[in-house]
């Protein structure tokens, strides 16, 4: 009993909808059941066994949407063994509940708080410097990495089952995450300097200087716990006020 390659590809495609019906009780349970259903249909021709199999995958599940692909692949690995009678039916669920926490932490720590913001900052800097082509190129590179890792994790999970843990550890994602964050902070600082240039050219030197000051002092304010949206309103008013004040002072001198 193995799942045909075509069906595996279909499962991977469906895994892209993992969070379509995210809910407070089961979280990604519906998404997981939706993704794995074609594989279950291939493994359990008997209606009663398929029903049981799908029912166990409607239980609570939550992970990072990218790294969840590894668990999905590994769960199919285990379901194949269950279908052949080599493992008890509780193993796939045990596998999911064991891996979901650690893989969620790795996915959040690498993709959501390092890789994606780094590419976001890079796209923003590129957009301000050279315009939309920078956005297209940056997003293309991000998605090359994203889809290669997402599909690679799914395939390796399916091939190796529990061995995926060692594979993910070997990727050393937390190490890269830290470097990406530092690089991202560097890009943000450069963007502030670019704004000094842009502001000065477009709206007078004062506008550029205000942007730089907002970048320098805004950082301290945000680290000190200032809320983001109110801070935006305050800083806009302060910027306009500074420009008014400068114009009046300039005019009266």
């Amino acid at each position: 009993m193995t799942v045909p390659t075509r069906t595996l590809l279909r499962v991977f495609w469906r895994s892209l909808f993992l969070q379509a019906a995210w809910n407070r009780r089961g979280m990604q349970n519906l998404g997981f059941a939706y993704a794995i259903d074609p594989a279950l249909a291939a493994l359990y021709p008997e209606p009663e066994r398929r029903r049981e199999a799908l029912a166990r995958h409607l239980g609570f599940f939550n992970c990072h949407p990218y790294t969840a692909a590894a668990i999905l692949g590994g769960t199919i690995y285990h379901e194949e063994r269950v279908a052949r009678g080599e493992e008890p039916a509780g193993n796939p669920v045990l596998y999911k509940s064991t891996l979901q926490g650690p893989l969620a932490a790795i996915g959040d720590g690498f993709f959501w708080t390092a890789l994606r913001p780094f590419f976001g900052a890079l796209a923003a800097l590129g957009a301000l410097a050279v315009g939309w082509p920078a956005v297209v190129i940056t997003l293309a590179i991000y998605n090359l990495v994203h889809l290669a890792l997402r599909y690679g994790l799914f395939r390796d999970g399916y091939r190796k089952g529990d061995g995926i843990v060692a594979d993910v550890a070997r990727l050393a994602l937390p190490v890269f995450a830290d470097r990406l964050r530092v690089a991202g902070a560097f890009v943000c600082g450069l963007t502030a300097a670019l704004l000094l240039w842009r502001g000065a050219l477009q709206a007078g030197f004062l506008s550029g200087a205000v942007a730089l000051a907002a970048a320098a002092f805004g950082y301290l304010a945000l680290l000190g716990g200032a809320r983001l949206l109110p801070a935006a309103y305050v800083i806009v008013v302060a910027g306009v006020g500074a420009a008014l004040f400068a114009a009046r002072w300039h005019g009266s001198s």
Partner: protein, 233 residues
């Protein structure tokens, strides 16, 4: 027609953001560019999208915690700015900053609405279980896709409303009571804060030092170049 395009793009972005794919297409820098493209002013979209990306760089969905709905906010701000810009000769910093001030709160409204859909989705889970008990596993699994409707609808309704408010109000303000105000400086102040917000999203031990080092070194380089080429205040 323009508002229909804003509605469709905002709705699709809301789906891409969480329910399907997650390939950064709903991030502000991409979505604002797409909205600019759809409404005939790519440059205007990019101008608005780049600072918004940094501003909302920390808007990340970790576990069960919901961030502000940066895609909905972006769709309304970028749509409003490009449409307002039509009457004013393009998306200027003045147009961008007023659109931001008018439509940004939608990002917070979007977060509340998303919390609501998470409760509605519990009913979908119950429906899937009921279908399965009736012996329809394929149908039970497909219930998942019904969850895509609510996020699409919420953003497709709210984004054009926000865009319309901005598109109507901004030209009146820029040509009327705010005509004498140096609003452009306000946009650059916001953009600076956006850099700070982006840097704050990068939580690493050396991030603070590196951020300030890049800012100071970059600023020094800019000032030097200005001095050489003779840009005057």
């Amino acid at each position: 027609m323009s508002y229909l395009l804003v509605a469709i793009l905002a709705g699709l972005a809301a789906i891409e953001r969480k329910g399907f794919l997650q390939a950064m297409l709903a991030r502000p820098v991409a979505l604002a560019t797409l909205i600019g493209l759809a409404l005939g002013d790519v440059g205007g979209g990019v101008l608005v999208g780049a600072p918004l990306e940094l501003f909302w760089l920390g808007a990340v969905n970790l576990g069960a915690a919901l961030p502000v709905h940066e895609a909905l906010g972006t769709a309304a701000i970028a749509g409003g700015a490009v449409l307002a810009g039509r009457a004013l000769g393009g998306v200027t910093p003045e147009v961008a900053v007023l659109s931001l001030l008018i439509a940004a709160p939608l990002a917070d409204a979007g977060r509340r609405a998303e919390r609501l859909t998470e409760v509605l989705n519990e009913k979908l889970a119950a429906r899937a279980e009921e279908r399965l008990s009736r012996g329809d596993p394929a149908g039970a699994a497909r219930v998942n896709l019904l969850g895509l409707f609510a996020p699409f609808a919420i953003s497709a309704v709210l984004a054009p409303i926000g865009a319309a408010l901005a598109a109507e109000a901004v030209p009146r303000l820029v040509l009327g009571p705010f005509a004498a105000l140096p609003l452009a400086t306000g946009w650059f102040a916001f953009s600076g804060l956006a850099c700070a917000s982006g840097a704050k999203a990068m939580r690493a031990p050396r991030a603070r030092v590196v951020y300030y080092a890049a800012l100071v070194a970059g600023a020094a380089a800019v000032v030097t170049v200005m001095w050489r080429v003779g840009v005057r205040a």
